[in-house]
């Protein structure tokens, strides 16, 4: 690893008064002028085409790499094609620990290149299948089924914008319940790992979610990549639910949907100003329980959360329906004040008339 020293680098030691702003009006240098000058002729189009060419080429353990689809500080995911079968796959490449180091010599068997192993977890229709695991020197490749779909957050944004609120709630809720079942299945198979980011749930054209990025957990993998507790899935799904129902991020993105922390402190998101049509009370209650600060109030696992969500989508109990009706009446009153007052007056007048009539009738009978 470099020590970070850059000989001749155009940076100096910081002065006590902090960083100095570069002057935006400074003259362009030769390279910058070249970049801008391209726009003086049609050269800009060929430069754009050149810049737009795919970044990667080559192969990895028999898989022809097509493009990078995701990457973070520890791993990169490629779209690739299996050169033997022509099948499109996702290749996740991550550094392995415990490999070739003086203090922890590599296991000869695992450091042998291209040692494909059949350690794939049991298949579940909602979890993208892991096809193979390949160990190279100090990296591990997890080859998975390629899924065509839209990340669930983008998909839900689209659904909310195109469907009426009630239909959108049902559609999103059903997909979310299926997602919870997929998470439960991955957890049961010991294949749940890392953060349950929205980008890991791809919704296919028919609305079916598929969980990607799961796979066998190996002892030498970093702690962050290992499975968290089952109850952590509930919190992650609660945060996800808040996001997909409301379109709002429940917490700062850096701490959202973290499933690898043994004891989770949850900052309950604000439900007060959410349109009840977007998040009906019965559904909100499920989400609120999933995100409760008090862990004992949360659903015990993802499967239970799925059950509760489906139940809530069915309309919940009588109390829920009554509260929904009150909410609807309040909403109407806020939107149409004059009409509401008129309706109230009519109801009041009718009630008074009925009472007076009833009293008259009873007086007549008494006489």
């Amino acid at each position: 690893m470099s020590d970070g020293r850059m000989d001749g680098a155009p940076l100096e030691r910081a002065r006590p008064d902090g960083p100095v702003a570069p002057d935006p009006l400074r003259a362009l240098d030769v390279v910058e002028r070249k970049a801008v000058a391209a726009f003086e002729s049609d050269a800009w189009l060929s430069r754009a085409a050149l810049a737009d060419e795919p970044a990667i080429s080559g192969e990895l353990a028999g898989y022809k790499l097509v493009r990078v689809v995701a990457r973070d500080l520890r791993r990169t995911v490629y779209e690739a094609v299996d050169e033997r079968t022509g099948q499109r796959v996702a290749v996740r490449r991550a550094a392995r620990r415990g490999g070739d180091s003086p203090t922890n010599p590599a296991d000869p068997a695992s450091s042998a290149t291209r040692a494909a192993r059949a350690t794939t977890p049991p298949r579940h229709p909602l979890v993208a299948a892991v096809i193979a695991v390949v160990d190279l020197d100090d990296v591990r490749l997890v080859i998975s089924e390629w899924i065509h779909g839209e990340p669930i957050d983008h998909w839900s944004d689209l659904v909310r914008s195109m469907q009426d609120p009630r239909t959108a709630v049902v559609k999103i809720g059903q997909t979310l319940a299926q997602t919870a079942r997929a998470v439960a299945a991955a957890r049961a198979a010991g294949a749940m790992r890392g953060k349950l980011a929205p980008s890991r749930i791809l919704v296919q054209a028919d609305g079916t979610p598929r969980l990607i990025g799961s796979g066998p957990i190996e002892p030498e993998e970093p702690r962050e990549a290992r499975a968290g507790e089952a109850h952590a899935d509930v919190v992650a799904l609660g945060l996800l639910a808040y996001r997909v129902f409301t379109g709002r991020n429940p917490v700062d993105s850096s701490q959202a949907i973290e499933t690898d922390t043994p004891s989770i402190r949850v900052i309950e998101p604000d439900f007060s100003d959410i349109d009840r049509r977007r998040l009906p009370r019965s559904v909100a209650r499920v989400v609120r329980h999933a995100l409760a600060s008090d862990a004992s109030r949360r659903q015990v696992d993802a499967s239970t959360l799925a059950d509760r969500l489906e139940q809530a989508l069915g309309g919940g109990g009588a109390a829920d329906r009554a509260l929904e009706a009150i909410d609807a009446a309040r909403g109407f009153a806020r939107r149409r004040r004059t009409a509401s007052v008129a309706v109230l007056l009519v109801i009041l007048a009718t009630t008074i008339a009925l009472v007076v009539a009833a009293l008259s009738d009873s007086g007549g009978v008494a006489r």
Partner: protein, 203 residues
């Protein structure tokens, strides 16, 4: 040219190694540039990723103690030196043959102190980096164009980029050639403005 703030703020924030959001943003903005530069030097994609990663680690270590001095160079010069240093380090380490994942084939004229082109005063490695840097800004500008223009205009831009003649595009899209030219000009002007702004912001 407007006074930039975004990138400056980002660079200032990078002085705090604990500002994870700033580092993530910085990494997502520059990783592809570094990876492409490494691959231009013959590194396999996976090795290029590793070099990019170690470059970010080097930057993480170096940034808190340094400040950008525009009088001494651009931010891209700094980036170049970092990645060149990392490629040299990997190259020297990987002179020993190992497994498939470590197969590197950096060309002789790539980087490092032993480059035969050094005596001529023209560093081909730096030239390559500068070309990649221009491409990098074009890519960012194109992404903005794709996000902000109407899909029909973007489709026309894509075809122009592929080299399709204006007349054919006009016929296929039911427009006049003049309209296609107008869209081309609008995209060009916007992209130019994006590139200028990005360069100014970068410092």
């Amino acid at each position: 040219m407007s006074v930039p703030s975004t990138q400056l703020t980002l660079l200032a924030r990078l002085q705090n190694p604990k500002d994870e959001a700033a580092w993530k943003r910085f990494e997502s903005r520059y990783r592809e540039l570094l990876v492409r530069f490494c691959m231009r030097h013959g590194l396999q994609p996976t090795d290029a990723e590793d070099v990019a990663q170690s470059s970010f680690t080097a930057l993480l270590n170096a940034m808190p103690a340094f400040r950008l001095d525009p009088a001494k160079g651009r931010f891209r010069d700094y980036l170049f030196r970092v990645v060149r240093s990392e490629i040299s380090r990997v190259r020297s380490k990987d002179l020993r043959p190992t497994g498939a994942a470590r197969t590197l084939s950096i060309s002789e004229d790539s980087v490092g102190e032993t480059s035969p082109h050094r005596d001529t005063g023209v560093d081909p490695s730096q030239t390559a980096f500068e070309q990649e840097w221009i491409n990098h800004h074009f890519r960012i500008a194109m992404a903005k164009v794709r996000r902000t223009f109407a899909p029909e205009s973007v489709a026309i831009f894509e075809r122009l980029m592929r080299g399709d003649p204006v007349a054919a595009i006009a016929t296929d899209s039911g427009m006049s050639e003049q309209a296609v030219h107008k869209i081309k000009q609008r995209v060009r002007d916007r992209m130019k403005s994006f590139v200028e702004q990005q360069i100014a912001e970068e410092g």
